[in-house]
Amino acid sequence: MATVIPAHAAERLKGLRSSAHSTGVFTSDFSVNEFLLVRKAGFEPIGLCVGTCVYHVGIQYGSWSKNQELDVLSKAMYHARELAMSRMRAEATAMQADGIVGVKLTIKRLEWDAQLLEFIAIGTGVVHGDGHKGFRAHDGGPFTSDLSGQDFWSLLHSGYRPVEMVMGSCVYHVAHRGMLSGLGTIGRNVELENFTSAMYEAREIAIERMQYEAANAKAEGVVGVEIHEGSHGWQTHVIEFFAIGTAVLPLEQEIAPEKIEDPIMVLSVND
């Protein structure tokens, strides 16, 4: 038996315009699956939210033979992202969104000036279909999350809700090795402990900062943690460790009254 097409869809197929969005259209960058799953989760997209920031990143040189955080650059990278994110969030607040899903955070270099970086944050603002305000972040504003629509649905169905995208940045100068220190290592495989410890410190600082943000957002945990290593046109041996993830809180009883079922495991027989 063929599945019955819902009445609204059938009318549209017959050529009748919908009156469902009489106040206007919604915009989003959702794929089909994302759209269906965000709505299944009880949310409706209302509009794309964008925040950009063109930032002039100052200059800071590390001493040639020293491991050190380049705090001027760390602050710049963090501050610029923060500005882009907060502008995006302000747009979402203006359209009374309860949250933003699928946030993409990108950095572009502007051709004519190596020190100018463009930071872009873009995501889809959503509202809860029944007007439930319990999904908002701890400060009453919209939640932010870099999770896709599918991930958003899955998160709610694992008993959590997103609170805030959290991040930590550390731009670090890794010391160069002296000429003499190289001589002692001929003929042996040795660990370069100053390189190793530089990686440890830089990564730790980035993770700690992200975790600190999560703690400030009163989150229980952070999902989808990624640690990126990047160099945005700086001298060699300068590297940014950037930790990012979505801070989450357990769903309270009144927000999701339905019982969460255990997921079904699937083994694909495709190659």
Binding site: N33, E34, L36, Q60, E69, L147, Q150, D151, F152, S154, L155, H157, S158, G159, Y160, V174, T185, I186, G187, R188, N189, V190, E191, L192, E193, N194, F195, T196, S197, M199, Y200, E201, R203, E204, I207, E208, M210, Q211, A214, A215, A219, E220, G221, V222, V223, G224, V225, E226, I227, E229, T236, G245, P263, M265, V266, L267, S268, V269, N270, D271
Partner: protein, 306 residues
Amino acid sequence: MGLFDFLKGPSPEDLARRAEHNARIADIQRCLQSGDVPASIKTRLEGARNGTLPWLATLTPAELSIVRSHGLRPIATVSATCWLHYGWSWTQGHAQGWELALRRLRDEAWAAGANAVLDVKMRTIPLGGENSMDFTLIGTAVSVEGLPPSNDPIVATVPALEFVKLLEADVVPTGIAIGAHYEWLADYSRSARMTWRGNIESQTLSELWEVVRQRAHQNLRSHARTQGNGVLAHLNFSQMFESEQNKVPQYLARHIVVATTVDAKRGTTLPHHIKIMVDIHAGSTPLTGTKRHHQSYTSNEAEGAI
């Protein structure tokens, strides 16, 4: 920051930060030598372990839901690095580097009170250091409800979904095994220079490869034995070079195999029925296996999920 800021002395804030950095680096270096987990990392891991700090997980929400339904609890992101200089052997250096990083990762997992580390990725940061390479492992430490913390946490290079799949089938991914071997061949008879000889096997080089590959796989087997009773998902990397010394052609062949070790009871099969269904995931489905779990080797050979 103003243009003439360098004329001013360092602010008390700067001095405090420098002191903190110096103390932290000194501690990290001491711990690298003594084989302990550095103090600042330990504090973070213990905070996540007893709930005073948020837990951190590289898992996606779908993975979070599946690990929770199987009684696993994420604790913290753990990582380990060993930056090794190849003064003696590039090939053996890869085995040494990964092994040391693996040991450090286990130590962090132990400090986090974990039973396992999932979703372990092999990373190399391209800083272009000559004759040296960074061996980094990053993963998510988890504990299993009802089990005491392990004093030898397992390390699984598979993502959480696959980890749980394997657990349901009574298979435990336990670690990473490395097999590396290289050999030099001095070709005095110049038998590998075959310019005018038409279609013919280069027996000299075939034999060299045969030996190198077999020895690498033997090493893989003996390294795997310390961690489990089998391996899955090989990554193969091999290179051959030619050079000339005193008019004698020299060949260097090297081969590295890296694989996920498992502990699997023989004869156990998957307890599930097979059912046909449609997958709602965007893009390529995560059900068909895993993404590349390393970016340390650019290889022209087919590879598995490690």
